[in-house]
Symmetry: D2
Subunit: 379 residues, 4 copies
């Protein structure tokens, strides 16, 4: 059969958790959506004995261990960065310099300064760029955004944003790179913090001032496959308040040690005419309250966001045939592909990554200095 | 202080579970509602060593052990029957004959024939009568009825009605009078069956034809305070289908052996434009779905039925300050008092008890004969 | 019939919302519990045309409009204070001085200084005293406390405590005394804040340091029954962080303007071996997670806290026959009566009210000074 | 890179809804699981202008419109049947005759007689066969089965099995082949009935006797893309009771007209020591109740079935990163591939399809004859 369209060749750097999620998403796009181009999984770059086997299973044509080969390869159109955070800056800047379109997992960088440099690089190069705040690709949250932007819940007053998991509760959980401030900067404040801060921006407004505190529960952890133990240098949980530009206020919690919470991104946004609630563990549902005066039927409604007229759902299955966590990646990467194809804009560009990073830095500073910090004092 | 109004003196027969619930309700009425008369707890009739103490605690002026003294006492205005089911008929007929207003707990009788006799007696005597289907007094179900009667969910198509508890699961649960067909007739088919059948009639339509089956899991039980064991002669669970007059169909389950269900009266009624759901364990909530074509916000809404504009709620607490199980009795008995005061009609008269009994008998016959039974063949 | 025991005569000051809740509770105690004494509703004190009628309906023998008559009446044993907050101090101190046992609704006072004075007065007088943090009387929360104190969820790490209603959302909601800082001091920070702070203390630990911010959405409100409007001088919502003595951290939100939330006291407490969750709108349920390593059935369980072996439930109805909001008052006041009868201790004495007040003051100061405040700097 | 293993070439017949679901599943297997063979999407067979484009998008090498070419093609190893039900028999028998391994969507056939013939054909041919009851591939239901088979809920007493959607509520919903008894036999009794009957068998026991009734709400529907209307000849809803071999009883409802239910496969199974509950709209959750005597923490626990030690979850994402509806197909087809590779057995063979079909026929007969029907009287 004839294959239509021009090719878009992907070089993916990082073959672990996020590399798998991105690969799966690229593979699903042509089956469920209608890109004009052919997306080719060209090169998988990583480190580890399982690399060749992984590349084959993910459907890549080639593999390599040096990310510079990907960046410099003239056949590659898209460089997709799924490495630990401390490599983001260097790879992204190099890729932009080489004229590649760039995808980078969140958090964009280790600091606002790095993020600013990266954003400058893609802007100067004029390449498409995506900081993959993947939850912007969840249909229920796309619907939430539409409701809020259309004024459905009125003026936003109050945010309660939490991202809770519990894998770090056990002292036996092995050391991971996110527990090392060298590789992960602010750790959970960047990792999970980036999500809740980005979603506050996506759904509501810009943070102006923050004040937080943090906790570290397990100070030392075993290193997998060794008898060593390593010191944990990032917190297990961060708690903070935010004042927003248009007057809303919010309480934020991110924790890897909230017992019983497996992947609970819990969002509640209250406006003066309604409210929305969301739990990532029930990714297909949005709870919506629209105030009507003395309406005997007022109540939060549980919307099963799987109807063909809901965001992105025309592409998938019939009503009620639910999507999973991985599908948000498909939507994000498809949006990015379309931006390339149409020379248009995609959701959650590097600039968004940068603005989230600034708030993350402000939270970090507020913890260190034990006081409120204005976001615009971060440079 | 002056006490307004004429007195209504209550003689209550049966001082156990239901006697307690009725006493509590009578005591609450004057505090939360505005009856014209003064409700006086006159005589508590029962059998047991705790009777005097109980009468004092419940606030009755007197007590006695012979129900005939209550029925014949000229000072008594209301005879309230909270005895085992096999006494209902005789007491109610005698009370009506003595010109008393009569309250009787459900199920009204042991059989349709008995229920017909009782209904005839109160009708002939021209006295007010209440067969206390207490769940008609739950605000969420009063709201459900209003929604359905107003056409809010369209034509009713499908009912899923269940009443599940689990106290009978354990073989150690002692023998109770409801397990003895002499005292309790059809047992759970009457006890819990009366509730789901009455609510089907209250909320939707008249049953026309039924087909059921039943289970008995524990055939013998210990008798409390003895070393005896006694044979159980009523089922632990009954399952049945109903065809309704206007074409709806329903599946019904009542069980005392549904593990984990403590007092789960689970109702779902689907119409051609919406649906309602209810769970007695969350007595203050009604879930309502109103179909709107391609409305992105379609979903079941959870209505907290505690606003001042919800049924009966003007009398209680502010929004969200929830009621309990006992409050439905207050609403039912207050409605009965008002019917006496205004010579009006109350919800759930003996006639409703009788019509439910006919369906219960039909279910019983369908189990014995292992076939569909038309309700109008029951005499 | 003989009435046993000595009398305890109650003088209740304040006949509105709380006065009704307390009256109802006193009336229920003898029916459901076994106090040694006879509780007599002696005098209802209040202001308003409905006072006489209300006293009659609530079952009081007398009524009056001057609280001093109640305090000075030698027949009165218990003075129960349900007035606006600005009267608490003067009445409580006078009542203690007159040797009465004293009940006072929360928040105990307008300030820590007042609360300290009140606590000193009852201590010096040696009278029983109750600051009615009514939610300590909710069986699900009594169970939560037992679980936590028994180490069921391990060391407490994280609290998410919210008390959300939405009555203040509408600009048409009339001015109430809680919106006036003269009558209500810190307003919602005291009113709802007292509950979440007390429950944090009841369930977990002592607050050490706080940092908060507040919002006022509707600056002026109509005065009922007039064409006037009045300036609102207390906030609609308060948000704060707390560091606790043993190292836990918490985020707290109290708001009267959270759309769709009717009476949502939402508590989540995470320990290093489990977690509990509670929502006052589902007052009979407690969600409990107890971590077991690699147990395929790990999950939050929804406990219907209505079994006879659950706290206080021996006194009420069979399993699953749920209680309402009002029942917590019965438990609190019964505990107080028992403390009088046995010369024992009751839950939530004035000292607890005082310690909560200190935290409330610290939150207020942190808002004004826009910084973290140590609780022990409040005098 | 070298591609390991022998090839397994798939010929897929039917390129609509189920064809898409199967194609997606085959594509995901090598990425997430470790089959020994290479699965090649060889030929897509269907009818329609979009066939070529669809084949390309799904990743098939070839396409054709005559299913006989697929069956007869010596290169094809697996024939996968996703056509309307009335083609199942002929294709499956031919495929088996040609020595192909056969996958067939449920319901296996239009009748028990057909299903028996098909089962005979694959048995005689000695080919692997899968009747794709896809919900056997849902991890939460695999866990449910394990719990039940291990005796976790004790002896099964009671089943409440429902499969509810609402697409047929609107009279504007166009005619589909499932509404035509020629193409779909018993219609919803086969389509959705097959699922609930199979899951009853999978999770509990064998049906022995059934009694049901059915409803048709919309008698005529528009034909898409025309101005025609066509008569509906299958019911919109079927309700039935089942007596099971070991004594359990169940109530079953399948409906396409249950307002607000999008894809609600609602299962409740009660045993004498516990219970499980499941809702397909929350596909990652299983609710489990395990009775412990007088345990204050008894309650249904909501298990998020996404831990690495839960069925199949080792292959996917970290805890709490939820799966969607489509993933069950991956598990079912992977099991089938493994059966081929190891000459082993897969879940839900044609025999299971046949046994479900017998019950479906019994339900149909009970509706027509308005009486209980023993399953073993169906031939």
């Amino acid at each position: 059969m004839n294959m239509k369209g021009k090719e878009l060749r992907v070089g993916l750097i990082g073959h672990k958790f996020m590399g798998k999620a991105h690969s799966n998403a690229y593979r699903k796009i042509p089956m469920f959506f209608q890109p004009e181009s052919r997306i080719c999984l060209d090169t998988l770059c990583g480190i580890g004995e399982d690399l060749e086997e992984t590349a084959r299973r993910y459907g890549f044509s080639r593999f390599c261990t040096d990310w510079r080969r990907v960046v410099e390869d003239p056949k590659i159109d898209i460089v997709d960065i799924c490495t630990p955070d401390n490599f983001h800056r260097e790879i992204a800047v190099a890729a932009a310099g080489a004229g590649k379109h760039v995808v980078c997992e969140k958090p964009l960088a280790l600091s606002y300064a790095e993020a600013r440099e990266m954003t400058g690089a893609v802007t100067r190069a004029g390449v498409k760029n995506l900081c993959n705040f993947t939850y912007r690709g969840v249909p229920a949250l796309m619907l939430a955004r539409k409701i809020i932007k259309d004024g459905g819940i009125g003026r936003v007053l109050q945010l309660d944003m939490r991202y809770l998991q519990d894998f770090a509760l056990s002292p036996d959980t092995p050391f991971g790179w996110r527990m090392d401030t060298v590789q992960a900067g602010p750790g959970i404040a960047g990792d999970k913090g980036a999500h809740v801060i980005d979603l506050a921006r996506f759904l509501a407004d810009e943070p102006v001032e923050v004040c937080g505190c943090s906790s570290l529960y397990v100070h030392e952890r075993p290193v997998s496959g060794t008898s060593e133990r390593k010191e944990v240098t990032t917190p297990d949980a961060v708690f903070f308040l935010i004042n927003f530009h248009k007057g809303a206020k919010g309480v934020f919690t991110v924790s890897n040690a909230s017992a019983g919470r497996k992947n609970a991104l819990l969002l509640e946004i209250y406006g003066d005419r309604g409210a929305i609630r969301f739990d990532l563990e029930r990714i297909n549902e949005l709870e919506v309250y629209i105030e009507k005066k003395e309406d005997a039927l007022n109540g939060f409604r549980t919307v099963n966001v799987t109807e063909s007229f809901h965001p992105m759902m025309y592409a998938w299955w019939p009503s009620g045939h639910v999507l999973g966590w991985e599908h948000a990646f498909v939507h994000q990467l498809y949006g990015f592909i379309r931006a390339i194809e149409t020379d248009g804009r995609n959701e959650s560009a590097f600039e968004d990554g940068m603005l989230a990073q600034r708030v993350i830095d402000a939270v970090g500073k507020s913890i260190v200095e034990n006081r409120w910090i204005r976001v615009d004092t971060i440079h």
